[in-house]
Symmetry: C2
DNA sequence: ACCTGAACACCGTTCAAGT
DNA sequence: ACCTGAACACCGTTCAAGT
């Protein structure tokens, strides 16, 4: 049974598909409740190839994790964009920029709650310290730029004070990332259901100070 | 040479000293530039005992790491207290509470910069998720209470708005922890020298919103 | 009571080989 | 070009034994 499955699968890895299959398997692995850690050997087992085959497509485990993280940043960006798009507000609403920042914060923390293992890899030490993976840097930058353009908009309408943009973005990101991190290690105890009201209160002082 | 050293040391582990020696060795290990990871085997090697001896004092690797983390929370608390004690201000200074919160933020991030590996263990996943280690919870709580009493003081003088205290503390903690984390994984690039001015700008909006 | 030795089931990675 | 097998140097942990 298992052998047949592996054989069938393997036939499709002759056209550069293995690379994607490995990344998908790795994401599946950490998305399932029971398994938290990505190992090179477990991922290749799931795909049905010898673990050495991975090295044909990724120079090491860290490279594979970087691909997973890159995909994660893409998902995060989509989540944030979706949160803005579905915001009920129209124009002329008072404090629109503040409400948009709030929606971003809620969506950000929600993402970390929904994909904890993925989030941890994205912000883990392995691939972030050196700028080894340009595609990863690019994906992270896009999320950064989304935050920046929102803050820009708030400053443009005069709703936010005109402070150095970089510090505003990093401040907001630090706040949401810090909250998500503390919640994931359960230093802050919080059920998924209460993310929305809680985040609102947490970011309250920050947004009020913009 | 190495054998003599190990022998000499070992003679003192008959009175419950091994436990402390292991924790100290683990902290030494992560404090030295070259080594980032604590392994049970490396720690026991440094102390000069068989790696199995560790299990006499710690039920597993995680327990040893929890002891390291607990010590870290103690150091962090001392760092924060010291920052408040050496703050040049006297009474009657305007915005005293804000300046004290700022000093705490700077000291907090500075600690993470100075002891990165230690900080990572303190906020790592291994021992925080379940409340397995009451001593660790207690040490973390003391740091929490320091922040809370500062915010209380600010509210008492009317300098800060009277919001739910828990949200204020978690907000401040999220902000400083998030900034420290992002800096440690180099998503925020920052030299140790610039921690002070940078943190001041980052926490600016938050403190202004208190 | 406290420590050790050998063994087990895992890792990531290297070298040399198979098709 | 793409994948495999055997081997290496590491892990944490268990079992049974030494003093």
């Amino acid at each position: 049974m298992a052998a047949t499955k592996a054989r069938k699968r393997r036939s499709s890895y002759h056209h550069g598909d293995l690379s994607n299959a490995l990344v998908r398997a790795a994401i599946d692995l950490i998305s399932s409740e029971n398994s938290e850690q990505i190992t090179l050997r477990e991922v290749s087992r799931r795909v049905g190839v010898n673990h050495r085959a991975v090295y044909r497509h990724f120079s090491d485990l860290t490279s594979l994790l970087a691909a997973v993280a890159e995909q994660g940043y893409g998902e995060l960006l989509a989540t944030l964009q979706h949160a803005l798009a579905t915001l009920p507000a129209g124009k002329g609403v008072p404090k629109l920029a503040a409400r948009r920042m709030e929606a971003l914060a809620i969506a950000y923390v929600g993402f970390a709650f929904d994909r904890p293992a993925h989030y941890r890899i994205m912000f883990g030490r392995r691939m972030n310290e050196d700028g080894r993976f340009p595609a990863l840097e690019g994906a992270a930058l896009k999320a950064y730029e989304l935050l920046q353009s929102e803050l820009d908009a708030g400053v443009a309408t005069g709703e936010f004070k005109d402070r150095p943009r970089r510090e505003l973005v990093f401040g907001f990101w630090s706040l949401t990332h810090g909250f998500a991190s503390l919640a994931l290690v359960r230093r802050i105890k919080l059920k998924r259901t209460f993310v929305e009201p809680y985040v609102r209160q947490i970011v309250g002082p920050f947004i009020a100070g913009l």
